[in-house]
């Protein structure tokens, strides 16, 4: 755990090391970041289930999961702004950008999923769900679930 956290904060040349770094980089939004990730990932699973079964229940699960993920993402955005303003944080651009992109694509995806019938999922909805999950896991999330890091020169 510690060495991953150290890698996270390794963006900054003067980042602290070890357990101090973890306590220093803890933010409010990191608590909420996993929610949309979990919802959007679950939506990919229910999309796959719909694709294989044509059972409308799975499509309904998907659209609620994506909608729920978007609501949580809105909360993340609000809280991240608070963190940036008050918790001496600066954005980790790559992660923040990846996260925002995944949320924007999910916004499109909830509209696609609101279509009626098969094309609410196959192929566009399912593809978008997969892209969103890929972005989240490859780019946007880290072991600390933060989209920010300690601001350069902030007091340790």
């Amino acid at each position: 755990m510690n060495h991953i956290a150290a890698a996270e904060t390794g963006f900054q040349p003067d980042a602290g090391t070890g357990s101090t770094a973890i306590t220093r980089t803890r933010t409010i939004h990191q608590m909420l970041v996993p929610f949309p990730v979990a919802y959007f990932t679950a939506a990919l699973v229910t999309d796959l289930a719909y694709w294989r079964t044509d059972e409308v229940m799975w499509e309904r699960f998907s659209v609620w999961l994506i909608a729920g993920g978007l609501v949580m993402a809105a909360l993340v955005a609000l809280v991240a702004i608070v963190d940036l303003a008050f918790a001496k944080q600066k954005p980790v651009w790559i992660r923040a950008f990846g996260y925002v992109l995944a949320v924007l694509l999910s916004l499109v995806n909830v509209l696609v999923h609101s279509r009626d019938g098969y094309t609410a999922v196959v192929p566009t909805g399912l593809t978008l769900s997969a892209i969103v999950v890929a972005i989240l896991f490859l780019v946007a999330t880290s072991a600390t679930w933060t989209l920010t890091s300690r601001r350069h020169g902030a007091r340790k």
Partner: protein, 454 residues
């Protein structure tokens, strides 16, 4: 994964992201297409464009605005006045043999919320004035002086369950509630029925009941009832098990209540009439939404025994709907092309074969269709009553606008025409479920005075 190369990856990813965002905004822009000239979609051979799919389906809500002193507009040779006002969402009309007019005041049951979209749809309906409380009653209007203005108004039947269709056979009055056909004893000249009804048969009702109106007509020999049962969804998005015996026209035996599916694949058959010259059954039907402003044209068609009209798998014959999976090529192969397109999203809900003689000669032999209009198209289409001329029992010309002015120049809606009926004097009656009025259209000159109700 290593974090270091991300600095390098960053630029590449942002380029991909920019490309994605451009694609997305491109899709959104592509969804803003307006519908073409509806006249290209009227008649036997409507022009059918390619299927479009939307991120946000075009919605054009016509906000209600009271009539005030205004009335609908009619062409020269006709006149229009309000037969009666102050109804609660009047949906359909029926004229009894003695001239009494039945006004069915009704609205659908509460729609369930299966998806976030259903919440939005509820708001749209509320804005368009379609969320009126369900009165669940039938009101009787009687004109004892024969002046075209009724002087008696009574509650004929109350405590119904989203009624729509009415048919009198002998001394039995059949009312199609949303979930059953109920038979009531009717004596000539009655202004109110207090006797309890007897259920003839169940009809597909809740729990979803998406298309709730059950239209009704009796066969000319009085042995069968034909019932229009709408689908339980736009395009089977609630699953095919929810569509059992729906999107169909039922034939019900009047003695036993037994039924069979007379025709299927008719998404929402809201009006049934027997064509007087040939004795054939005809229907109007509402077709599917959300695949473009010019898809799919609503239609008027003769109904063939055992015929399949496409829904949900295909439309206008064998044009496949990509939103339905699994497909049924066996059914699509025998899908019948409807006889006469009324153009897209006009929402025909009223249907009257004209057999009267008091309107000008050009209206003799043909059908009036009440086009409720919808919010699924820009520019708006429908919101009027049209006349389709018939020759030898078949449509023989372009639909003509007869009653217009339901929409004003700013696309505010004073009213929306629904059910139609022809009164005993031959005048056309129109239920208006936003203006909460019943309009009467008669000949402007030499109007024969309606015979007093007997």
């Amino acid at each position: 994964m290593s974090r270091v190369p991300q600095f390098v990856q960053g630029a590449r990813i942002s380029r991909i992201a920019a490309a994605l965002l451009l694609t997305v905004s491109g899709l959104a822009l592509a969804s803003c297409g307006n519908g073409g000239d509806p006249r290209k979609q009227i008649g036997a051979n409507p022009v059918l464009p390619a299927v479009q799919q939307y991120l946000i389906p075009p919605i054009r809500i016509a906000r209600p605005l009271p009539w005030g002193n205004d009335t609908p507009k009619v062409p020269q040779g006709l006149q229009v006045h309000a037969l009666a006002t102050g109804f609660q969402h009047p949906r359909s009309l029926y004229v009894l043999p003695n001239g009494d007019v039945l006004v069915v005041e009704s609205n659908g049951p509460k729609a369930p919320v299966f998806r976030p979209k259903d919440i939005i749809t509820g708001w749209v309906q509320w804005f368009a004035g379609a969320k009126a409380k369900d009165a669940n009653r039938i009101t009787l209007l009687r004109d004892t002086h024969g002046g075209g203005i009724p002087d008696t108004r009574t509650v004929f039947l109350d405590h119904l369950n989203s009624p729509f269709g009415v048919a009198l056979v002998g001394h039995s009055l059949y009312v199609a509630d949303t979930d059953a056909i109920i038979r009531y004893p009717y004596e000539d000249g009655e202004t109110s029925i207090s006797a309890p009804g007897v259920k003839l048969t169940d009809l597909p009702g809740g729990p979803i009941d998406h298309h709730w109106t059950k239209s009704l007509v009796a066969s000319p020999d009085g042995t069968k009832l034909y019932v229009g049962v709408g689908s339980n969804s736009n395009i089977a998005e609630n699953g095919m098990e929810a569509e059992r015996e729906r999107a169909a026209i039922w034939e019900v035996d009047i003695k036993t209540g037994a039924h069979r599916i007379y025709a299927s694949g008719t998404r929402n058959p809201t009006g049934l009439q027997f064509e007087p010259e040939t004795g054939k059954l005809w229907a109007i039907a509402n077709e599917r939404d959300e695949i473009g402003p010019d898809l799919v044209p609503d239609y008027l068609t003769s109904v063939q025994d055992g015929g399949f009209y496409g829904w949900p798998y295909s439309y206008y014959g064998k044009h496949l709907d990509p939103r339905v999976q699994p497909q049924r090529p066996d059914l699509v192969a025998k899908a019948i092309v409807p006889d006469y397109a009324l153009s897209s999203h006009v929402a025909p809900l009223g249907f009257a074969m004209y057999t009267g003689t008091s309107l000008p000669a050009s209206y003799r032999g043909g059908a009036f269709v009440g086009e409720h209009g919808s919010w699924d198209r820009t520019p708006l289409n429908g919101y009027k009553v049209v006349f389709v001329p018939f020759t030898n029992g078949k449509p023989s010309g372009t639909a003509q606008d007869v009653v217009t002015g339901f929409l004003d120049a700013d696309n505010r809606t004073h009213g929306r025409p629904v059910g139609l009926a022809v009164d005993r004097s031959g005048a056309l009656l129109i239920a208006d479920d936003v203006g909460n009025t019943v309009w009467r259209v008669s000949s402007a000159s030499g109007t024969p005075t309606p015979r007093p109700a007997s």
